[in-house]
Amino acid sequence: MSRQYDVVVIGSGVVGSSIAYHLSERKTKKVAVIDKGFILTGTSGSTQAWVWVHNKTPSWYGELSMYSAELYPTLKKRIGDVEYKRTGGIAPFFDEKDREHALRLAEMQEKVGIDVKVLTREELLEKEPFLSEKAAGATYSDIDGNVNPFRLVELYTKAAKKNGVDFSFYNPVTEIRRDKGYYQIRTEKEGVFTAKQIVLAGGVWTGELGRMLDITIPVKQVRGQILVTEPLEPFIQTTIAGVRQAENGEVLIGYSKEEVGYNRQTTLDVMQETAGMALDYFPVLAEANVVRCFSGVRVIPKDGLPILGQIPGMENAYVAVTHSGVTLSPLIGTLMTELVMDRETSLDLSKMSLSRFERSAAGELIV
């Protein structure tokens, strides 16, 4: 027996669950979400969860992130308290020579409306008194912040369920076929789901979903390892790229990148390097206990930029896959809903089309 839906979203991570929630707000279509695991078993449950804008490049990507960050304050009223904090974001540099680069970044971002300040050491230490005096300065913007990713995905899901979305967990998709204008999605545990429209939002596994439709979605897996300390008295005010203090006092530290496929092991090598980095930033952390280390596998499209929109040549099939899913989720949910429901979007998505990779392969220059 087949289950009939208007839209099936594959993937219940921060991107998939946001899309499902935003679709469900229209209350016109029957929506289902299918996931091979449970909410938060993938990347969305293993992230630093910065809502990060100010040094995203190229500028249009920064601009996109800014629009998304602007949607966060209203999210609380719509789905509940996701513990979003607009703390301001700092990316410190330790070499005075880097100031020149910082100024160039600020100039570039200003053109799209992102206010980036380049801080002197004194200004930096005034904002973050416990930061190492070795820091030479930093780029800073008010727009950045962080969120609790667990609450975020949980509350997107809860709100979507309330609006009638069906969730099917622990149910891997094994096959997707197109038949008489409908998509037949075969699953391991619950048979076939039939849908008029499908959205691939499988995060790090989206490439595999694409293969089921014979299309190439070029994403790579990049592992990040993060150390977590015991809860400490609040001492970090802003969101610092690489080190942030959560609401409960835990400090999350790390910014590592390794391409090791889906391997989510942590390694003592990177943990030690990360601990070293933490002390470079905040010498006061020396006596803090590290309680755990976790790793997440980020999905990074081949060119690092979001892949968003209709799948070229495939009617009613859409893809939404990006790094920075946490930052971009409110905007992606909004835009994808517009696309799926209204067939047009309030922002031009053409730069993010999957077709750019074909064009690029054909030698066309893309920026």
Partner: protein, 100 residues
Amino acid sequence: MVSVQPQAYVSFSFNGTEMRALKGQTIAAALLANGIRKLGVSRKLRQPRGIFCHTGRCCSCFVTVDGIDHVLSCMKRIEEGMKIEPGTSDPVVWRSGDGD
């Protein structure tokens, strides 16, 4: 007190009160020998905590030793002159945290 052969004693303080314990005892045992069972409080509900497993695993016996927080009192021996404070140093911020 359990019957023992005479041994050396060490002096230490707990919450400012001078105490004495057998040399070689863990901090947890030294405190227990002085009638102290409440070693600290839990993080969220601030309920008292004490020795549970005494093998370094359960993490219920945290104390502050010479200013260093969250020392497992069952895994460290008492030393002459140690200043022990109860394990009450967790910040009073409590929300669900982040990260897997």
